[in-house]
Every structure is written in structure tokens, then in C-alpha cells.
């Protein structure tokens, strides 16, 4: 693993892992035999546990952006079958930051969509770092409508720093397209499951983020604005001090969102984060998706839409007539 993808707070873990690896090499075939090796393994596990149970908000953001963290196409490989990508938005072009297509998961045929950020530099440039343009959102909606027509559930895997902020995006109506997606998703007459698998960046996330179930992986984040953006505006500068402060203030971790009643489930990650064991997070996510699909397909559409309406209708905290109205789930 390249040193670039080693997060600062993982330093001690990596140091022990390197030590373990060198000891194991020395011992050759007799893996895990010596007392020393067993001791180090135990220490690594307990260190991971302590670290990852106590991540700060900013550290969580860093984990969510880890270059080795599984992305949409990794999950396509791991847990979906027969993926048939659908490219066209019928107006402008094929957005590589937002992919859509038919897929099978378990006993279900679904419409799968999500952001793809890319792992290597070249991939990242091709995918615009997971920042979709208006054509991406148009393509997503077109295929959600297709799913609605044939009663296929829609699964949205969200992983974006935000919708692309650029000249072309503005010329082609970034806000209008996102607005339209949000509105249509509130009444799409088929089950919709949204999972924030990495970064849940503001409107870019919400543009495919309105559903019957909204979930997050444990170390994903979901926020109204990136910590960098928030620090730049409210603290006037985004630096190594203000970014962690902003991340903390925004309450963007899965634990916070669960408490605020914004996400329905938090999907637990393997020890040390999804990037350390993609296979395990794949299995967990698949099990979670299947469980939700099985629940949602039994609900009549009219009821589903009413529940979806009420789910979002309740969100928000404000005062009125000397009492406080809170979103569901908040303490």
C-alpha cells in the first residue's frame, strides 16, 4: 500500500503492521507461530478498535475519502450481477461521474446508480473526482423514470464531494437539474434506497438522495457543505486548524445523522474502515440492501409515497408556541 494512502492517524497501526509483516517474512512458512507475532496481532486489533471507535469528525472525512475505499464500481463487482450500464442523458452527453444501469442483487432486478470517483489519478480525472454535471443528474432521472415504469426498485450509492462547480455546469443548469431530481424523487412510484458509501457532498448527494430509506456507511459523511467550504466561509480560511473545527461543528458523521433522524440505518464497517476489508463491507452492504428491498417491495406504492413524504416532512428543528418541534429520532 502506498504511503500516500496512509492516513496520519493510522500511522501507529501501519507501523505495527509493517513490523508484523517483517516478522512473518522472517519466520517463513510458520505464520503466527511465535508469541511475539500473536502479541502484535492482538495489539493491532485493539489499536484499530480504539482509534476507529473514537475518530474525530475530520478523521471520519479522511476515511470517507480514502483512495482505497470501495466505490460504486467495486460494489458492482462484489455484490451486483449482470450490470448493464445505461449511458445516455438524451440531451448533452455521458457523465462519467455518475453511472446508471440495470443490475441484479439477490433475487431482485434493480436500477442501480451512483457516483464514481476513481482510484487512480487517471480514473479520477476521467470521473471528475465524482463531481457530476447536469447531464449526470438528467441521466439519473431518466433511468429512475424507467425503473418506475417497470416497477424496479432504485438503489443510489452516493459518493461525491459535491456537484461540479464550473462554467459548463452552470451554463447547463446545475441547480435546475438537481432541483428537478429532488422533486421527482419525492414522488417516484417505486422503492428508492439511498446509501452514502463515502462522501455525501451537499446538493450533489441529494440530487440522487431522496428515498424511502436513507442509510450511511459507518465512516461516510453527509453534509450541507464540505468542511473546507464551511471553513473558508465562516472561518475565512480553510487550513489544518479550521477544517477539523468546521467538520466537528457541521455534525456530519453517521452517528450525528442517526441522532438527528436524517438516516435510517448506519451500516457498520469492518475494523479499521471499509478500505481495509472491501469484501466484508461488500457482504454487509449486500445483506443490508436485501433486507431493505424485501421490506419495501411489500409496501403498496401509495403507502410508500405517503411514508416517504412524511419522512422528509418531519425533518427540521424549530420553535413554535413555546414548544420545540424536532425531526424524528433526535434526543
Amino acid at each position: 500500500m502506498s504511503s500516500l494512502s496512509r492516513l496520519p492517524f493510522e500511522k501507529e497501526i501501519y507501523a505495527l503492521e509493517d513490523l508484523l509483516a517483517s516478522l512473518e517474512t522472517k519466520e517463513g512458512g510458520e505464520k503466527g507461530s511465535s508469541e511475539e507475532i500473536r502479541r502484535i496481532r492482538k495489539e493491532i486489533a485493539s489499536l484499530k478498535k480504539t482509534k476507529f471507535n473514537n475518530l474525530t469528525a475530520w478523521e471520519t472525512v479522511q476515511v470517507s475519502r480514502h483512495p482505497d475505499r470501495p466505490q460504486l464500481l467495486d460494489y458492482v463487482e462484489m455484490i451486483f450481477e449482470d450490470f448493464v450500464e445505461l449511458h445516455g442523458d438524451r440531451a448533452f452527453g455521458d457523465d462519467r461521474a455518475l453511472r446508471t444501469g440495470f443490475a441484479r442483487v439477490g433475487e431482485f432486478r434493480v436500477m442501480l446508480m451512483g457516483h464514481q470517483k476513481g482510484h487512480t489519478l487517471q480514473e479520477r480525472q476521467e470521473c471528475m473526482y465524482g463531481c457530476a454535471h447536469p447531464e449526470g443528474y438528467r441521466k439519473a432521472l431518466k433511468n429512475m423514470k424507467l425503473a418506475e415504469k417497470f416497477n424496479l426498485p432504485v438503489i443510489c450509492l452516493i459518493d461525491t464531494p459535491g456537484a461540479f462547480p464550473g462554467i459548463g455546469a452552470e451554463e447547463r443548469g446545475q441547480s435546475a437539474l438537481i432541483a428537478n431530481n429532488i422533486l421527482e424523487m419525492t414522488r417516484l412510484a417505486t422503492p428508492v434506497i439511498c446509501v452514502v458509501i463515502g462522501e455525501g457532498g451537499s446538493g450533489g448527494a441529494l440530487g440522487i438522495g431522496v428515498g424511502d430509506r436513507v442509510c450511511m456507511l459507518e465512516f461516510a459523511y453527509y453534509s450541507v457543505i464540505s468542511p473546507e467550504g464551511c471553513a473558508g466561509i465562516l472561518w475565512k480560511t480553510a487550513n489544518e486548524t479550521t477544517k477539523p473545527t468546521a467538520a466537528e461543528a457541521l455534525r456530519l458523521t453517521s452517528r450525528d445523522l442517526s441522532r438527528l433522524g436524517v438516516v435510517d440505518h448506519v451500516i457498520m464497517e469492518p475494523l479499521g474502515g471499509a478500505h481495509r476489508d472491501p469484501k466484508e463491507i461488500g457482504n454487509t452492504l449486500k445483506a443490508s440492501l436485501l433486507k431493505m428491498l424485501r421490506e419495501l417491495v411489500t409496501i403498496p406504492v401509495a403507502e410508500l409515497l405517503e411514508q416517504r413524504y412524511m419522512k422528509f416532512r418531519k425533518m427540521g428543528v424549530y420553535l413554535e408556541n413555546e414548544s420545540q418541534n424536532q425531526s424524528a429520532g433526535s434526543a
Binding site: A163, A169, A249, L319
Partner: protein, 283 residues
């Protein structure tokens, strides 16, 4: 609202505007920098006589210009913000709320209600740039949602006038983002019921406001020269390092690119809205 609160923020929207054109005999146009006689600007609906720039107008003034005299009946005035996250930047959100309330004499950035436009009954929602840049937190989201729901129930045309430069309000974090979905859901139901929604974009309408209610109208109008878009100038610069062309993200730019239906001068707004309402009346 009880009478004891009449001197508190959120009191009935009537009387003199508390903000907007600064006190004093003369003001400077933020666009052409000309020194203008305040009375003359006010007489022209706060439009610059030199360059036709549409200056900011507070909610009371907007209501007076758009609706028939004394026809506005405000809804849900008692809906007030609190600090669900315990948010603190250089000052706490609670302090910020109190300062903004004192400055604007409003509880938050939105006012909603019903009224008449040249005799036609409508439901109206206005977001006001003066209060935290018109940003949408729980209160703005709740009031706009209820307004759309009331409009559906009463079968009224819905008119939202957006002046939200702040988009979704950072200080309420993810709850602000969720307001975008909440308001959209209410607008979707209004639309589904066969009623008309006219969105009027004013300077500025950005971010989360633009990416939700402001761009969901059956008809979308804009005042001339308004700044309207998704990402702010600074965000774009930080991402792509490109200087933005002259006139980028203005009403005229949006018209040219096909995202709004009409640019309407403030003096014509009431007449145009009335005409559009008539066109969309079901026979």
C-alpha cells in the same frame, strides 16, 4: 401572536421597512455607484434611475409591490429558529440568530401567507436576503412547505419570491440540506393537484435555494440582473481556477441558456403575474 410580543422580531409585517435602503437622504447604487436621491429611488420601487439596477427590497416592501394593498394575511408567523446542532463558529448560531432578528425585526428569513394580486387570490412565500443571506434552515423550510401545503388545500396559485444568496444554511448542517427535499415534496404535491406555481428569482438566488424550490416552478421569472446559480464565484475559482465571464450567472445568462421563462422588470411584476395566473386558470 400575542400583543405582548408586538415589539419582538416577527411582529406583523406592516409599516415602514426597517432595512434595505439605508437611512439618509442619499444612497449609492451598488451597480453604477451613482449617488441617488433616496426618495426618487423609492418612488421607482428601489430601481436605480441611472442604470436600472434592481436594489434589494425587504419583505414588507416586496409584499407592498406585489400584492394588492392590505391584502396580505401572514401565516405561521410564530415559527422561530433554534440551534439544533449547538453550532459555533466565531460566534454561536444562537447569538447570530438574535443579532439578525434585532437587525431585521424578523424571526427568520422567510415570510409566507395569502393575499391578492389584482384581485386574484394567491399563496405567497418570500425569502429575504437581509436575514442570514436568505439562507434556508428549518424555519424557512417549514414555512415554505406549509405554504405549499396550504396552497394545495385551498387550491391557490403558489408564488415564491426567492432572495436566498446563502443557499442551505450551514449552521443547521444536514437539517438545512433536508429542507430542500421537504419543500420539494410539498411543491410536488401542489403541482400534482393541478395548481400553478410561479417562481420569481431575485438577486441573489444561489446554492440550495436554486437547487430546490426556486427552480421547480411551472413558470420561472427573474428580475433583471439578478445573480442566480448553483456554485458561488469563489467555489468555482477554488475548483477550476477560471475567471468567470462578464454577466455569468445573471438573469440574462439564464434566459439565454433556457432556464427561465421571462425576465420581468419590477414595475411590471404584478401585472405579469396576474396575466400568467389568468392564462393558467382551468376553464
Amino acid at each position: 401572536m400575542s400583543s405582548k410580543e408586538s415589539n419582538q422580531p416577527g411582529k406583523a409585517l406592516s409599516g415602514r421597512p426597517k432595512r434595505g435602503v439605508p437611512e439618509g437622504l442619499w444612497i449609492r447604487c451598488p451597480n453604477c455607484k451613482a449617488s441617488l436621491f433616496r426618495k426618487e429611488v423609492e418612488a421607482r420601487l428601489n430601481v436605480c434611475p441611472e442604470c436600472d439596477h434592481h436594489l434589494y427590497i425587504p419583505t414588507v416592501e416586496r409584499i407592498a409591490q406585489l400584492l394588492d394593498a392590505d391584502s396580505f394575511e401572514e401565516w405561521f408567523r410564530d415559527c422561530r429558529p433554534c440551534d439544533p446542532l449547538g453550532f459555533k463558529d466565531r460566534i454561536s448560531y444562537q447569538e447570530r440568530i438574535e443579532a439578525e432578528q434585532a437587525k431585521t425585526m424578523q424571526f427568520d428569513a422567510a415570510a409566507v401567507g395569502r393575499g391578492f394580486i389584482r384581485g386574484r387570490p394567491v399563496a405567497v412565500g418570500i425569502t429575504d436576503f437581509a436575514f442570514m443571506a436568505g439562507s434556508m434552515g428549518s424555519v424557512v423550510g417549514e414555512k415554505l412547505s406549509r405554504c405549499a401545503e396550504e396552497a394545495t388545500r385551498l387550491r391557490l396559485p403558489l408564488i415564491f419570491v426567492s432572495g436566498s444568496g446563502g443557499g442551505a444554511r450551514m449552521q443547521e448542517g444536514i437539517l438545512s440540506l433536508m429542507q430542500m427535499a421537504k419543500v420539494s415534496a410539498a411543491i410536488a404535491r401542489h403541482q400534482q393537484s393541478g395548481c400553478l406555481y410561479i417562481s420569481i428569482l431575485t438577486n441573489p438566488t444561489m446554492g440550495g435555494a436554486a437547487a430546490s424550490f426556486a427552480f421547480q416552478g411551472d413558470l420561472t421569472l427573474a428580475e433583471p440582473g439578478a445573480l442566480i446559480g448553483f456554485a458561488g464565484r469563489r467555489t468555482i475559482w477554488n475548483t477550476v481556477r477560471l475567471e468567470l465571464p462578464e454577466g455569468f450567472q445573471t438573469s440574462e445568462f439564464l434566459l439565454q441558456h433556457g432556464f427561465i421563462d421571462r425576465i420581468v422588470h419590477r414595475s411590471q411584476l404584478r401585472t405579469e403575474v396576474a396575466a400568467l395566473v389568468d392564462y393558467c386558470e382551468k376553464s
